[in-house]
Assembly symmetry: C2
């Protein structure tokens, strides 16, 4: 039988998802736990894991997906709990279910949701330091939203594709790009509004700005390059219309930098057909 695991991790201590020789990875740690469980049931290993998304070093996940095959004498829903006793506390299986034997997490239509988290404040926040990138100064949220509106659609995203990509096609279907703000107390913004500048979008009350991107798939580093580009729009280094021109040009050198890995979380992967 094929078991699907929904996997959450704090990527801080891992050299990314995918197994590598001589490096601690999420997949390698999962493989050890799965094989330990199977061996304890008398099942011969090694086992092959197939992951949905090979997140980079330092990137986090709330719902990456992994499948493996095993004739396991256990209710599939219990596998999550059984594996969690064999995993370090920065990796948790947050769901397990049996899927059809031919279900492949990378070859099945899906919608992936990523969130890029920004701590926007004069000072860093120790509790945010591992899960967001710190920015201070102007961050024009309205301009970021206007820029984000140019991104969705089925397009050639070569401009947002990191060096080292092995993808044959650079066409991807982005469903949405949202900018969500959570500010500490509305007073901060009100005070700012009545100030010399007088613009709501220049509010610098400390808080979190999240860039949420949904799509059927992404190129190498694509979400981090989208984040880096939208941040430059927020900072006034690029205009919203520049983002349309950047996409049209299909030229990576025109986009913004790749935003730091630690701000990125793979929130979840939905398989609409598999569910029905």
């Amino acid at each position: 039988m094929r078991i699907l695991l929904k996997v959450a991790y704090d990527g801080t201590s891992y050299c990314g998802f995918q197994v590598q020789p001589d490096a601690i990875t999420v997949e390698g740690t999962l493989k050890t736990a799965v094989e330990g469980l199977l061996n304890s049931m008398g099942i011969v290993t090694p086992v092959e894991l197939i992951g949905a998304s090979r997140t980079d070093s330092g990137v986090h996940a709330l719902g990456n997906v992994v499948v493996f095959d095993a004739d396991i004498r256990m209710d599939a829903g219990r596998v999550a709990h059984a594996l969690n006793t064999r995993l370090p506390d920065d990796i948790r299986i947050v769901g397990s279910v049996q899927v059809p034997d031919d279900f492949h997490p990378r070859k099945t239509d899906c919608i992936k949701t990523y969130e890029y988290r920004i701590w926007h404040s004069e000072f860093e926040n120790p509790k945010e330091r591992l899960y967001s990138t710190h920015l201070y100064g102007k961050l024009d949220i309205d301009a970021m939203r206007a820029a984000a509106a140019f991104i969705p659609g089925e397009k050639d995203f070569s401009s947002f594709c990191g060096a080292g990509s092995q993808a044959e096609s650079h066409v991807r279907d982005v469903k949405s790009v949202e900018i969500i703000t959570e500010r500490a107390g509305a007073e901060g913004c009100a005070a700012q509004k009545s100030g010399a500048n007088g613009r709501a979008d220049s509010c610098t009350a400390p808080g979190v700005v999240t860039i949420r991107v949904k799509g059927t798939g992404f190129l190498y580093n694509m979400v981090r390059i989208i984040a880096g580009t939208l941040i430059e729009v927020g900072q006034g280094k690029k205009s919203p219309e520049d983002v349309k021109r950047i996409i049209d040009a299909k030229d990576r050198t025109l986009a913004g930098p790749t935003a730091p890995a630690k701000g990125l979380t793979l929130v979840g992967i939905e398989y609409p057909e598999a569910r029905g």
Copy 2:
């Protein structure tokens, strides 16, 4: 001149705030940084730090307050940045300002805000593991709110005072106790509502439940005991009215357990008079 520092920290790696021999504490680490800065300016040390709140081991802060005296030739607002270059990244000075020479952070009227954070889900969340306590199963938010309503006021809170307190009086003035929920997607709750149970408060969509407590001061472990007691109400082990009876009895053994330190954050301390 007296300088007030607003201090944020991830308490995970510290044996609490207060200086102790042979233990790494937040205050000890701050003292090293402050003395290093003063020495670099030719100012003789040691220096005495006076902290507002001696948070326990594992407790976090976004805005604890510390003062020290030094004839520093520097704009007070720059002290925060100068100290941050001398501090580990799990402690940040998030503000610095000159205050009157007789300002004492524990002897000046203030309002302290604490938040106790609960990750409520079947599975633990790796990104929440250091900053919240994990609970699964029934958590009746309406009952927790009804219980919380019995707490505010100027009362003898002996029932919520941890062993080891050296306070002469157990009377404290609690201003408010709020329960705030952030659930991942409203669908989860809607589905739950239409289920067999049919009660909104039995919603178990994964998410964060925050207990926010404001008061002029607190007894030893008081916020963690309030949290532990309200959690027992949420779980149905106690009724909301039990909380009134527990307060009236002035007996620690009747209240719930002391909730784990890692879920607690000292959000901030306001000094209304000092500000005016």
